[in-house]
Symmetry: C2
Subunit: 350 residues, 2 copies
DNA sequence: TTTGTCAATCGTAGCGCTATGATTGCAAAA
DNA sequence: TTTTGCAATCATAGCGCTACGATTGACAAA
């Protein structure tokens, strides 16, 4: 039988939780200052005296102190994390932007939290929700089209939003990128300038990749205005050299007069190039090929590939700059949009 | 600098900090339960009664509650974040692994925090330090060679560490990958089997890319054992088609008898292929080419590229699996190593 | 001297949540 | 009846840090 032992014997021993080996308090103690001073030193070294600063620095070194960013994030209501949501990092374009951002942000001790939509708006919505629960310093999204729910969440949360890789639609906050229809237009103009009169656009996954679709539309429109023949040959699969080969072969069959093609991207163009080689079609003699992306192999092809370079790294750098400026307290102009433009590289495939 | 506008009317109002619009307390209040129950429901729905569960679910829905993962991470001493550190996500191999991990982890509401070393051990050390300050659920590193400081930090922190893309060295915790020297050996064996007797390895950035170096070494060793001629032609720049072209041209000049090459990766092989085309060298008639990676264009080349596929996605999937199992409380065998192997794809370039 | 100013430093109340141990209510066992 | 066992729920003490406001001390101005 157990007695009713409530409330008589005091048990001062309370529960404990986890433990971070060395905390800011330990550093403060060691350096003979208050925790506040340590915190201040860490955040704004110039605000503490030189002597205190060096003492603290020594203590940190000695104790091998690693700040707990999670605690800091909670206290400050904003973490040193930047959430970036792209269709997929397997795509070289986005990989380049992510890498460029990362390389700048890491110097500011900002972490990149990565998410993949796989071109799915629902997925994006889910990712944005999770991203927000990290109270990130900023959130970077790909493109301008999002679900209403996504837009609402973002609007309500007071997080700076940067939309990248697209311009010309309705933006939430800041946008950095270029006009994809202009890319298509540039490709068309270039081919026409080269004397081509029977054009086609070789498109991959146009139903999902909105930006590839915009490039395609720009191409077609410009060609039509110029009064030359133009067709779209497309495939639902993601852009690849294999798809490029298939598309060109299909295009040649359907359009015997074909003398110029623009491609979804350089992978497709590469496939088209190989297909020409297999079919003994001279490039650019009989057919001109224009790609998009200036991928790592494009200049080394035979013949080197004429392509349009979108400067994905500039997009990343500009995004990082905006974020850093925002964190430094600089109030950015609302609805700012930065056109990173693109460059047509005229090489020998056209 | 803001104006100092204080001092007239006394405001006994104490300080306030930030505000998350809807907190768990709000949900609890709305659902007429205690915050603990809401928390419990969120973490282990099966532990609360069905009625309470649905009430809470409704409250969450109604209030549009988004949990604060930062606060949760602090309280639980471990965040729902997985830190992954790779040389660069621009590299298609790592991009694939990252993407595969992400696609599994997102279903578990785990976030990927990305870091780039750019093949720099110092940088890696810095990244590991920052990563640890996020108290991640796990930390994933590329390769087995790290600085002593990195190793020490990792050892001291009680975070599961997974090293990927390499096997055969001294591992910290778990390792998932394959033996790169075996890749080189397989390439050599294959070329020899095809009747090639004058081999070369076309290597890019071998001084930094330790794994490419291992492949190279495996290639050379195997060739030597088999008694065939073997050379290494290398370039300090990162692997690219351009470098591949240069390397092959250099190799042909230095080794007129050359009849088989293995390459750092498929980009280099692609460049070699184009160089052969330019120099009218028949492939595989006069020269066999073996790549590494099975990149998106490799099967579509002309001729299609014989290459070795490393299954970077499997590495990612296995890593994700290990992490999820660990979080579910399953104690993993220490020093586990998973060999994801590789496949030689014999196509027409050899 | 007193007062004011300013830079440097400190004290402390949370940030929103989780995990521990306690408590409750009810059905089955004693 | 009382006890026990169990599932469901709750109360509460932090997790480690930041930022607000207060305090200190040194020096210039009055």
């Amino acid at each position: 039988m157990a007695d009713q032992t409530k409330g008589e014997a005091e048990r001062p021993q309370r529960r404990r939780r986890k433990m971070q080996s060395v905390t800011m308090m330990d550093v403060a103690e060691f350096a003979q200052v208050s925790p506040s001073t340590v915190s201040l030193y860490l955040r704004r070294p110039e605000a503490v005296s030189a002597s205190a600063g060096s003492t603290i620095a020594r203590a940190i070194e000695k104790l091998n102190y690693v700040p707990n960013l999670v605690a800091g994030g909670l206290a400050a209501a904003s973490s040193r994390a930047v959430s970036i949501i792209v269709p997929s990092v397997r795509n070289a374009f986005f990989a380049e932007t992510v890498a460029a951002m990362q390389n700048i942000l890491r110097k500011e001790k900002l972490q990149l939290i990565l998410g993949h939509t796989e071109y799915d708006e629902r997925e994006e919505e889910e990712l944005v929700k999770t991203a927000l629960s990290w109270a990130p310093a900023a959130i970077v999204l790909t493109g301008l089209s999002h679900s209403d729910a996504t837009r609402r969440m973002l609007q309500k949360a007071s997080v700076p939003v940067i939309e990248i890789w697209e311009l010309g639609g309705q933006q939430i906050d800041a946008a950095i990128g270029f006009h994809h229809d202009q890319v298509g237009a540039a490709a068309a103009k270039h081919l026409i300038q080269q004397g081509r009169r029977n054009l086609a656009y070789l498109g991959a996954r146009l139903h999902e990749d909105k930006r590839a679709k915009q490039r395609c539309d720009g191409f077609v429109e410009t060609a039509k205005i110029a009064g030359v023949t133009v067709d779209v040959i497309q495939h639902p699969a993601a852009a690849s050299a294999e798809v490029g080969g298939m598309l060109l072969s299909e295009a040649l069959q359907a359009l015997p007069q074909l003398d110029g093609v623009a491609c979804s991207n350089d992978h497709v163009a590469l496939g088209a190039l190989f297909e020409c080689e297999r079919s003994s079609i001279s490039v650019p003699g009989r057919l001109s090929i224009v790609g998009f992306g200036d991928l790592s192999f494009s200049a080394a092809c035979n013949p080197p590939l004429t392509t349009i370079r979108p400067s994905g790294d500039l997009i990343g750098r500009e995004a990082a700059r905006l974020i850093i400026e925002h964190m430094a307290g600089k109030e950015p102009e609302p609805q700012i949009s930065i056109d990173t433009r693109f460059t047509l590289l005229h090489r020998r495939s056209s």
